[in-house]
Symmetry: C2
Subunit: 497 residues, 2 copies
Amino acid sequence: MRSGGSTAALDRAALGVLTLCFACVHVIALKSQLFTRFGGSPHSAETPINYKTLYFDQKIDHFGFAEDGTFKQRYLVADKHWHQPGGPILFYTGNEGDITWFCNNTGFMWEIAEELGAMLVFAEHRYYGESLPFGQESYSDTKHLNYLTSEQALADFAVLIQNLKRTLPGAHGSPVIAVGGSYGGMLAAWFRMKYPNVVVGALASSAPIWQFPGMAPCEQFYKIVTQVFAKSGTNCQANIRRSWKAINNVSSTAPGLQWLSEEFSLCRPLKDTIDVIAFKSWLQETWVNLAMVDYPYAANFLQPLPAWPVQVVCKYLGFASNVSDGQLLHGVSQAAKVYYNYTGSTSCLNISQTATGSLGFLGWFYQACTEMVMPMCTNGFTDMFEPEEWNFQAFSDECNAMFGVRPRADWADTVYGGKDISAHSNIIFSNGELDPWSSGGVNYNITESLVCIMIPEGAHHLDLRYSNARDPPSVRAARALEVKYFQQWIKQVANTP
Amino acid sequence: MRSGGSTAALDRAALGVLTLCFACVHVIALKSQLFTRFGGSPHSAETPINYKTLYFDQKIDHFGFAEDGTFKQRYLVADKHWHQPGGPILFYTGNEGDITWFCNNTGFMWEIAEELGAMLVFAEHRYYGESLPFGQESYSDTKHLNYLTSEQALADFAVLIQNLKRTLPGAHGSPVIAVGGSYGGMLAAWFRMKYPNVVVGALASSAPIWQFPGMAPCEQFYKIVTQVFAKSGTNCQANIRRSWKAINNVSSTAPGLQWLSEEFSLCRPLKDTIDVIAFKSWLQETWVNLAMVDYPYAANFLQPLPAWPVQVVCKYLGFASNVSDGQLLHGVSQAAKVYYNYTGSTSCLNISQTATGSLGFLGWFYQACTEMVMPMCTNGFTDMFEPEEWNFQAFSDECNAMFGVRPRADWADTVYGGKDISAHSNIIFSNGELDPWSSGGVNYNITESLVCIMIPEGAHHLDLRYSNARDPPSVRAARALEVKYFQQWIKQVANTP
């Protein structure tokens, strides 16, 4: 199920994406901000997983009392291996999408449950999947979207856990560990920071809690994307870098536009400059997504893909610099089709979509337009993209036009501590060095109990995925260390009088 | 200036108090809950204090984006002794009242500013004093009251401090220490817990953060009141204990009611049973307030009073058990007049008022009706009052009738950690053993940096008051230790790379 529920909201979601595409023309900042989304973890068909689907009555507003209504928050529970009473609870802090997708794709939790005697709980984030505060009306306007914030989501998690501890036999003394990847990883870290009474520790995998204004250079994200392509094949990043001008050249004539549309098997032919800008944005996001899912084995995450997909893509981009624009773009098209049509079942390419429908696009756009202000930019030197500055004002205007809200650039820093988080404890920040989102991740040990684990061969939260024979030693070591910390936190609680 | 601003709001505030008086008849829980309010610190005429009054544009809603309006938050700044750049900032987390009143009555901060080279900032709590989010409309209905929560107040403080650090020359690297008493002390403690990036530590004086459901026995509060009276004069608590039945006896006839009204010089004569219940509630709160302000020297806090006022009061209540109801109540009336008419300038006693107008009654009632659910009860055995159970449902119904909101009994526990706060650091909890609010205070050291300071001879946040020749050694020692902790926290920051 896709975010936004059924028909009305879905239509709006689709419109949202198109609006954003359109917006790229005028607002380059918005493009970087909104077209680069997070992802989850891949699905493993092999491991059978069983869980109960439950619903909890959550307050729509935890931070005000005028709105006293409730909604059904979905959560999934697997207690097969749970040692009760008092066995630990691994609690997945759901991100911007259908919780069953994250549940199916966070194999790490399923694989360590038995060893830890742990119950698994996957809690859906409000406004995504089935957890819609106002049903089909949830995305209908500014007023209904008002309760879509990370603070409300964290409060949902806290209230749910406190309730489970009170009502579930054997759970009263259970230490709870938060686990999350990507935005869910940010939530896991923030959850431990804000509610250390509820969770004894957190694993924040690929969590860019430092991607906010003033915390990371805005060009870092695309620099990492570029580096991944640079090391995945000769001439690969150089040819992508050249491709933008080639696209501009070819698309400057009507026959060129038509050729380009056909070459890329686009569902809707490009018609004008605005379409071309949207096309380039889509292509840019394609390269970003490929870096994010550059896993060492075949996987179906954002798309079904082969092992080390960037290397496969780069095979089509190895030619020297003297090729014609047409030859270059033919290579680019072949490369893009690795991402969009690896299975061969895609009839045409849709430039308003780059990833799985299990992610809630519109919800994330709203969150980016409010709290999740993550500056990104390109300069064309340290990265292989056309230069685009970060323009907060333009971004804010676009958000206001789209949702009737304005982003607050400094709020995340104030409320979640920014770079000054050393007073907190028991958080693991794991980052894959192939992952563009590591640009905003915690990449050093802050204290003895706020630790960083770097995974050089890792893409976006590889450590949260099912183990695989082709896993690099670094991710195996990371997972082992993570379990060790979990055990240490559980022991700390057991030793508390 | 009294909370609620000018005419319209003031009328409503007055009505609120009357409504509550009336409500006592049916809802005994509400009486304990709402009639027992917090107070601040006393005024010292001797020490001249100088501050600038400033205003900061705060978001009305920090936790949602549909309401993007701002209001002027008042704050006071005194930088005479500030060592800039980088000198510390002592930040008073304003409670439920006019900030100038807290500023004038927190002599401790004024007295240590020079030694610490500190700037003083006193920030007004939203919905009190001049800091009204919707001006005169702020208290007009449920919708306008929606942003009166402790979380919003803490966010105000955090945003204000981050802004001062960004804009005030020399403040960028200044360590900030939160200081507060009573509800302001709860805010100081919670501020450090939730925003350790903003404040390096907190002094929470007489802060009953454990007065919430399930954390303290509900009868403890009135037990302490009773103990204070028991040790302040022979037969004192026994005679107050007997007085309730005497009031019931005397008020059972019309001439008795008239006599009682005249004996107590009431502004409005008692007319019926409902009035008598309100009268007893008022008397009960009078004894509570006297225990709260049982300071070792003459002071003008909730009322102008002599040194050790409970001892003075008890002089009128020393007779043996064989006196008549009339004699007993004459003594009670003389005792009450110590509190209400020590200066001799009060023409009549108003049973809808028990303390200074600088406190925002209506706002605090609303807060008690939402987040600040603090169960209190009396049993007539461990305390000198008529037995009254804590009845949450009745209380909730009354809140709903009055404000259109219902209290959430477990929310404070979940959001602020309840008794499980050991993951936090750098908080001093000081409590006076004469203070009824110590019933919900932190009365032991939780960790090395979450420490408790008990002041056996102290009433409500005596340590925050100006020093006085008659201060007991325990409060002198407490203040010295508090300064030592402040210096330690400041040093910790200075040593951080």
